[in-house]
Amino acid sequence: MFKVENMSLHYGEKMALDNINIEIKEKEVTAFIGPSGCGKSSFLRSLNRMNDLIEEAKIEGIVKLKGENIYDKKYDVIDLRTKVGMVFQSPNPFPMSIFENVVYGPKRQGVRNKKTLREIAEKALKQAALWEEVSSRLNESAMKLSGGQQQRLCIARTLAMEPEVILMDEPTSALDPIATQKIEDLIRELKNDYTIIIVTHNMQQAARISDKTAFFYMGELIEFDKTTKIFNKPKYDQTEKYITGRFG
Amino acid sequence: MKKSIVSILVLVLGFILVGCNNNETEEQKITVYTRDTTSGTRGAFFDIIGLSELGSSNEKLVEGFVEAPNNGEMMASIRNDKNGIGYISLSGLASSNLKGLSFNNVEASETNVLSGDYELKRPFMYIRKAEADLQTLIEKQLVDAFIAFMNSKDGKEIIANNDGIVEGLNSAPTWDNIKDDHAEALATGAAVEIHFGGSTSVEKIGRALSEAFSSLAPRFKPMHSHSGSGAAYSGTRSDGNLHLGFASRELKEEEKVTGNYDRVAWDAVVIVVNKENELTNITTSQIKDIYLGELKNWNDLNS
């Protein structure tokens, strides 16, 4: 799905990512772990060019999505974001009804027909395991939902775009354990249809739900391998120290 | 939310269209201008052309008439409206740069007014507040002196200088001969506010007279506030705020009851049109039809 070759990222003079090389397979859950400020979130945001919003961010190297370099001038960023959805750390539903939130994406792409919109909404909410809780009150304000429900709503609206990849930037750090559990089950569900890349502080979470794990440290990709291998016998001692919680 | 905004918009546009189409758009349509109901010029004008009931009510006036609150607005509107017709005081014609029409083939000039040939003749009158209603003696003395000055040769000269038509200019005594009868009024002392008001047609003459008189009587402090001839009577009643009110029309019977009134000068009402209008004369029946709405277009007039 993603092929990244010696990519680096600078915020003005400060170097955030240094010479990252990674390849992310389809329909797998890849977790990015590492101490805060190690650049894992910055890297995640480069995959759907959300870093473009920051003026002084400068990207070098190649980031290929299914063979095409997404930082190529001709590559349409809108098209990229319809393919690569993103869920943020704290839930950010729009100040509209639940229904409007979910169909927001498709509407912006020009889908107008009422029936298709209702279908998309139902499918996405079911996928996000939110349908039963909200099916009767779709016109109510999304702001009234609980934290966990709101996060699942954000996932639902991303799914409504039928993306190929879903990026998740510490999706459960703002949620209580029960809601976190629901999100993790949901991610296991989604694995069969979508490629998921998740940034997390919670190593148990990474161990539980991810197939592959990448360990970042000080802007460098230290180690990238199967999750079982990383958590049992990591190749580099930095990874081992971080996993056993001696620093970070 | 979007639906409600759209509905308001449609509603408002409907109103605008409804309102808009009652403004006729044919080229030659006559726009009729008139003064407000308090104006003396209006009263005199409608009385003389035989529509006196129009003097105080807009009931039968032509649809779409435009009301001007004073002489200045009337002049400004007709100056900017090629199809406009209205009436102003002869004393204002010179400075109005509008075209004055002759009435029944008699030109509106001083001689024709004095001789009576020009029918739209009307007096400039004044009413003074009754002595009993004045608070202080000095106010009475100042008003007496002012009226004496107004009727003196000097006063009449000033009235003539402001296009008022005066009789007996040369026979009137000069101020120097009569000023001794008003010694107390002309003495120095604390300023006394004397309020003038009433007709806007007489305002120019009123201000010129009061300005000249204030150089004669140090205590005399004139305050002018003119709104229309109607205020001449109401302003000089006991609760009114005027010492002396001017009217640019013959006084009604109930306005003469106090007996403190007289004529300042003669004036005339002249029918005016925009400079570009080729019309030069108008008859009584034509002007009546225009104001009643029977005659709507300029070309019907010339036939």
């Binding site: 809108i78 912006r108 792409q109 | 004073n70 003539a160 200088n161 101020w175 150089s215 305050m223």
Partner: protein
């Protein structure tokens, strides 16, 4: 690809509409400033700021017989010179744009220099006098001819040809200046701040520092907030119905029943009260809590703390409140038309009637022929003062904020 194209077109058109809309405000400000400065600059001069509004009329007559005198013609362009009396006049316009005749030259030993006024004291004709009334020429045989100003300047000189005296000459020193209104505006600012500022500051101090946070205080606060919602015309009605009778009783002067400067100032006090209170309260809330606690900890009473610690630190806020009030006072028109009337005065007294600059514009624009030039000149004065006030408020609030950042 067709769908992408359509969206880009919509996006572009929305962007263009937004660009255009946002420049409308610039166009409006530009139009207003150009209109005001182009119309107002003609009359803007030191003279207009210092001359009275009402012209000073004189009635003069020459005393000396002019038999056989003759004077040299100074040949002033398009002016008419009278050899007999040694003066030159020309057709001109007054400040208010009406036609008049103006004296442009009077010879040193012209008889007009020794003319006498109505009370008999020596009052010479002066250059810049205007003549828009009548005078009489007196001839050797005692006969007289009336000279009308409406017949123009040339006629004045021609009629005086061969005359030996001038009598009953109504001339005047031109008015049209805005000195009176400027002084009235300064009186208003002074009086209103003198009464309104302490009132507002004390109220703010009470609400913010002393008042127990309970229902009554909230009620007081909501009443004061309601004051901001009242339009200025309603303040005018209140001024006319409450302050005018109150002031004419206070000074027991019946002449004040049509309004006075003090009645206007009191009305303005009520208008600026919420402005001062809000500015003071916001300044008080920025002062760090630690100052207050420090003072109380040292045994100072509540009021001592308020006056010794809180008030001094809130002074910049109060100052910006005062400046905002000045802006409101200068700009106020509807309320003052009711409370002070629209008579433009010259010798300004607290109990007398005159107009502020804003109301001066109102009465000049309301006349038969609105005098745009004079109104725009006054508008320039108001705009300049308002701009200076705005800038100073910005400077104060910035420095005040920096101090506590």
């Amino acid at each position: 690809m067709r769908k992408v194209k359509k969206r880009q077109v919509i996006d572009l058109s929305l962007k263009i509409i937004t660009y255009l809309a946002s420049f409308i405000s610039v166009i409006i400000l530009g139009a207003i400033l150009i209109f005001v400065f182009s119309n107002g600059s003609k009359l803007l001069s030191f003279k207009i700021l210092t001359t009275d509004y009402n012209s000073k009329p004189y009635r003069l007559k020459t005393t000396k017989d002019v038999e056989g005198l003759s004077f040299t013609n100074p040949n002033i362009t398009d002016a008419y010179f009278s050899e007999d009396f040694g003066f030159a006049v020309k057709d001109d316009y007054t400040l208010e744009g009406t036609e008049t005749i103006r004296f442009v030259y009077i010879d040193e030993n012209s008889p007009l220099k020794t003319s006498v006024n109505e009370q008999g004291d020596n009052e010479p004709f002066k250059v810049d006098f205007i003549f828009d009334s009548t005078m009489r020429a007196v001839y050797k045989d005692g006969s007289t001819t009336t000279i009308f100003s409406k017949d123009g300047a040339k006629n004045v000189v021609d009629t005086l040809n061969g005359a030996i005296k001038i009598e009953a000459a109504n001339v005047k020193f031109e008015g049209g200046g805005i000195r009176g209104s400027i002084i009235t505006t300064l009186y208003l600012i002074g009086l209103t701040l003198l009464i309104g500022l302490p009132f507002g500051v004390l109220t703010a101090l009470y609400l913010h520092e002393i008042a127990p946070q309970n229902k009554i205080t909230n009620l007081l606060r909501s009443f004061i907030d309601m004051l901001t919602g009242i339009p200025s015309i309603i303040f005018g009605l209140m001024g006319a119905a409450f302050f005018i009778p109150f002031t004419s009783l206070l000074f027991n002067n019946p002449d004040m029943k049509r309004g006075s400067v003090i009645a206007g100032a009191l009305t303005l006090v009520v208008i600026i009260l919420p402005v001062v209170i809000k500015a003071t309260e916001s300044a008080l809330s920025v002062v760090p809590k630690s100052y207050k606690e420090g003072s109380l900890a040292l045994g100072a009473t509540k009021t001592q703390t308020t006056f010794k610690i809180m008030l001094p630190n809130a002074l910049p806020g109060i100052l910006s409140g005062a400046i905002l009030s000045i802006g409101r006072i200068i700009g106020e028109s509807a309320a003052l038309i009711f409370a002070m009337g629209t008579f433009i005065g010259d010798n300004i007294t607290i109990t007398g009637r005159s107009t502020s600059l804003a109301v001066h514009i109102w009465s000049v624009m309301g006349g038969e022929i609105p005098n745009i030039n004079l109104a725009s000149t006054i508008a320039i004065v108001i705009l300049i003062v308002v701009l200076i006030l705005n800038i100073s408020v910005k400077l104060i609030t910035n420095s005040f904020m920096k101090k506590y950042k």
